[in-house]
Assembly symmetry: C2
Homo-oligomer: 359 residues x 2
């Protein structure tokens, strides 16, 4: 039946993700080997000009190994993640991954920097802080259990924004679809459980080792980032924080159930952004607040066989009002996404910052 088909598809997807994680090391090392070969094919006179170049490639290989060891920890830890035993049993089977899947692994490593490192603080200040400030003012938290204030963070990635709300006393739930994100956030949030200083900054990632363009220095390519910058396990009200796996539209169907919804770089991941806006409206309580920040880099744009509706922001605002929201704030803020601060190329987003209220 339809349900069984969906289950099998999810299983295959899970296996492909595991396989992509496992394929990271080999793929990156192959690329560095090619770097080495190309360098060795240069005229002798050229090679002599850069006596340290091959050593730098070796340094990069060590970084790849560090990342691969981290990935191994992440995937091992995640075999306990799902109660569904099928996942575990089938882990030894492999489903072929593509270079697209490997790119997801690489961007997941960069996402760690964004969400859980001191290096990501600037990005978080730009993207998360305005959302947090807005919800703090409009829906202040309440430490009293019966009157707790809820925040839903769809597309929560590695979970930092949802965790920031939980830390401030909200009943906070992150929601995420991507297994890449779910594996990694599960590892960071649940493995770092101790109460000591040593429980954070305990892991290392080399986020930029796969990028050999626009480097001012090889030092930047091999840079090590320690994480997490906080201990995610330290929460005054642990039972108020959770991350729910799955598709936003599948999971959140109950009307009038949330005090606030915070979306950051999320709405453009929709096949149909109108459905997202309608659903956010539907699940908010009367008087509830939606805060959105992000660009419109539609996720399914140009991908064949994937329906995609690419509205301009003008149209998005039109839909927001027609769905019934009252727009309380409509501004633009500069944002970044897993930006390498040392790179000669930066992607800068003009993010829509929207505060909308359900009457």
């Amino acid at each position: 039946g339809e349900e069984n088909k969906e289950e099998i598809e999810e299983l295959l997807h899970y296996m492909r993700v595991v396989n992509a994680f496992k394929g990271y090391r080999k793929s990156c090392l192959r690329q560095l080997d090619r770097c080495e070969e190309n360098f060795r094919k240069l005229p002798e006179s050229h090679q002599r000009m850069l006596p340290a170049h091959l050593r730098k490639i070796e340094d990069a290989k060590v970084c790849v190994d560090v990342n691969a060891a981290l990935i191994n920890e992440i995937t091992s830890y995640c075999s306990n993640m799902f109660e569904n035993r099928q996942y575990k049993e089938l882990e030894n089977y492999t489903v072929k991954h593509t270079s697209f899947d490997l790119d997801k692994v690489k961007s997941t490593l960069k996402q760690i920097v964004r969400d859980w490192s001191a290096d990501g603080a600037r990005e978080r200040d730009l993207c998360y802080q305005p959302i947090i400030d807005e919800i703090l003012v409009r829906k202040p938290p309440n430490t009293d259990e019966v009157n707790s204030v809820s925040v839903l963070v769809p597309g929560c990635g590695l979970g930092r924004l949802a965790w920031e709300f939980a830390r401030r006393g909200y009943f906070s739930q992150g929601n995420e679809f991507s297994f890449y994100m779910l594996f990694t956030s599960h590892f960071i949030i649940n493995r770092t459980q101790g109460d000591n200083e040593t429980d954070f900054h305990q892991y290392t990632v080399h986020p930029w080792v796969d990028q050999r363009c626009n480097n001012l220095s090889w030092d930047h390519a091999v840079k090590a980032v320690k994480f997490p910058d906080v201990n995610p396990g330290v929460l005054a009200y642990k039972n108020r924080f959770s991350i729910a796996a799955g598709d936003f539209l599948d999971i959140y169907t109950q009307a009038d159930s949330w005090d606030s919804v915070a979306t950051c770089y999320f709405i453009d991941t929709a096949h149909n952004v109108i459905s997202y806006i309608e659903r956010i409206y539907h699940i908010l309580k009367s008087g509830g607040v939606w805060v959105n920040l992000g660009p419109l880099l539609y996720h399914f744009y140009g991908i064949s066989n994937e329906p995609s509706v690419e509205l301009s922001y003008e149209e998005v605002l039109d839909v927001v009002e027609k769905v019934g929201f009252r727009i309380k704030k409509n501004e633009f803020l500069t944002g970044m996404y897993t930006s390498n601060p040392e790179s000669m190329l930066k992607y800068e987003y003009t993010c829509a910052f929207l505060v909308a209220e359900k009457p």
Copy 2:
């Protein structure tokens, strides 16, 4: 023989480029048709929220037609471009183009804005002006024919920077490898020949019509840009300006022949950037100046079967000195490349700005 093989390869490449230009309209319209289909598949209630959406897609189709008519003019005009008769005879044959080739066509249209429109003035001020200023001071032009001062602009794209030097009285030659660029610059520079105000601003391009992400408004996607903003035919010393087609390393072999070399977003197009640096040194006269501005977005990075050596900028500087140059200036400037000023996503480059002298 080897020479014949090269000739055939060039011919096939030429035909593929012509074919890609010709395929632009169909490909873009197909994408807009898909937009339309996806919108029509939305629930009735969603479609009703955006009564103008389908009309906006129709507007975009009109823009694609305008671009296609321009492309048709460009390719028709360029059948006279080469003296080699073979090109003309084989124009009715087609060589299959890829989506990669179509992207080149789309970026060529954006390049028109960068080089030959008033909208590109900001980009040109950031990228070309520092180079022009530096060469004006270090190698001032001389209107006297016998003592003319020469500038070579390898990777000149659509030729604006080379033209700016010619306009200031230099003996200026642009060099370009890409047929996409060569066709288009040939059209703009040679077709706009009149001396009247009407001879510029006479063509229209819709540079952003293929981008449906990160639009604040559909108006931005369908924006019309007039060009050229100057009359390229108006030059006091016409015989001092030329554009040479071909590979930089193949064409420029004569030692001590140029007063200055200006490279803008060029050195990273090399298979081996060391060869470029050596060659620039070789062709400069003693006392000659090389001014470079750009990032290190290596052109052949990650392309299989294409050798690529990706040096960091530190290593580039090391090579520059080892080759024999004296570094006179080593700074960083913000630059952009065919940036859509209205888009919610911008690419910002930290460009190396280097002035080096051959002793």
